[in-house]
Amino acid sequence: MPISVEIPERVIKGVRGKKIRLNIQVEHPREDWKNIGVTVDFSDSLALPSVQREIKRNEVGFSIINVDMEVPPERPSKRTELRIGSITVTRNGDKTTQLLPKLIILTPESYFEEITGETLRSLGYEVQRYSGPRNPDLVAYHPDQPGKLDVEATTESSYNLVKYRSDIGKFHGLKHVHNFQRLLIVTKADRIEPGVFDELAHVHDPLTLIRYGDLKRLLSKYKNCQISKYEVISKLTQSGFVEV
């Protein structure tokens, strides 16, 4: 094949406003060439103009093109899963077109559940995401620790007592159905109202409350080998509010 375009086969999950960059690396041909053109055509639903670039010779022998786009808001009337578009490469009359990955536009709440699940997966957990208000947001299980976790990922701008009690109530309602051992609440907001801390001081339920920022810091430490998987498990099963 004279031109090969390698695109990862994955579905991109996005939320309104999320930035996506197409990092296109073009290796120049060894033999003589006059012009190479790269065109990115976005799908109609994205309503973005096409991007055209001409590759020029340089001393490195390859070029990098970055094409940035922003995820549009989800539209209830239309399908939220769409193809980003296509990429076309032309060289001396040869032309190849490849489809770009699919994009699923999620609501902010679903997206937060997805990224929380992804973070837990990177921490060594097996995670399943459920949908619907009567189900847990996520169910997580670590191979080195018995028992399942009910994970509630919450996107309120401030985590307050009402939401806290609602999460606890949901956990009690679900724990026998799913055989949950613990509840892990992950808050997107950094702000947690003081009343929640007062309640946590007297809580007897096996629950852990952690901010998403702290969960990311935990992942960063784990990836940098600063902490072991057992310390990760220990942190996420520590009762009450956990900071990293």
Binding site: E6, R16, P29
Partner: protein
């Protein structure tokens, strides 16, 4: 769940796409290595001083940025000499180090020279456009963009291609222990007279690791793996304009 802000749009997701043509021979890594070694031939001097780490550059730029107030008046220093005198007194606090004592003046001069070589300050010590571009990235949450921009600056203007080329040559040449390799690197750079003043080779290598230009020390194979593709990307970068 009730939230409607756009703050979910936190991270940038990158989709890597590679375009190749039939008959191509060299990989990105090979091309990166060629480019770095080619560029290292032009290096006269390496911009580095003391035991500066990447975050120290951010701290220094933040401090220099305080010199001009809202009325465009210089409040901390007017001239290069005043800046060096100020750094002599304040450097330990800015960098969060132990008291530098007797070495403070030399360290301050050396830091000023490094900032000049990187074209981060002008002859009077005022931050340049590069400094402002770096500073805007330093202020972002997470410093990845800052490291990328600083890496570009250090490779393109600071002569750090020579450090990578030397490290590569030494790694291929012998079965060193980590400490021995660092000493050999220091000797080879000093032999070429590309470094001046007091500087720490350990801190310099740590900067390369933090910039993701080399992998952390591989104690099994006794070497540093150089990430040529990243180096080539930074050399081709467009942050500095």
């Amino acid at each position: 769940m009730t939230e409607n802000s756009n703050s979910n749009a936190e991270a940038l997701e990158v989709i890597p796409i590679a375009i190749r043509f039939a008959g191509r021979a060299a990989t990105f890594e090979e091309q990166g290595s060629e480019l770095v070694i080619l560029r290292s031939g032009d290096v006269d001097i390496i911009a580095y001083s003391g035991d500066l780490l990447l975050n120290d550059f951010g701290k220094l730029l933040s401090y220099l940025n305080q010199n001009t107030n809202a009325y465009a008046t210089k409040v901390l220093y007017q001239t290069k000499d005043q800046l060096i005198a100020l750094l002599t007194v304040k450097l330990a606090k800015i960098l969060g180090r132990q008291n530098l004592d007797a070495g403070a003046s030399r360290y301050a001069k050396s830091v000023f020279r490094t900032l000049r070589r990187l074209e981060l300050v002008d002859t009077e010590g005022d931050p340049t456009i590069y400094a402002r571009r770096l500073l805007s990235r330093w202020k972002l949450r997470g410093h990845e963009e800052f490291y990328r921009a600083l890496g570009e600056l250090l490779l393109r203007k600071g002569g750090w291609t020579l450090v990578l080329a030397q490290l590569d040559s030494l790694s291929k040449g012998g079965n060193y222990r980590k400490k021995m390799l660092h000493e050999a690197l220091r000797d080879s750079l000093e032999e070429k007279r590309t470094t001046t003043g007091i500087w720490s080779v350990d801190a310099l290598v740590q900067c390369l690791v933090d910039l993701e230009l080399i992998k952390p020390w591989d104690s099994f194979h006794k070497k540093y793996d150089i990430l040529w593709e990243r180096a080539a990307q930074l050399l081709q970068g467009s942050i500095l304009g």
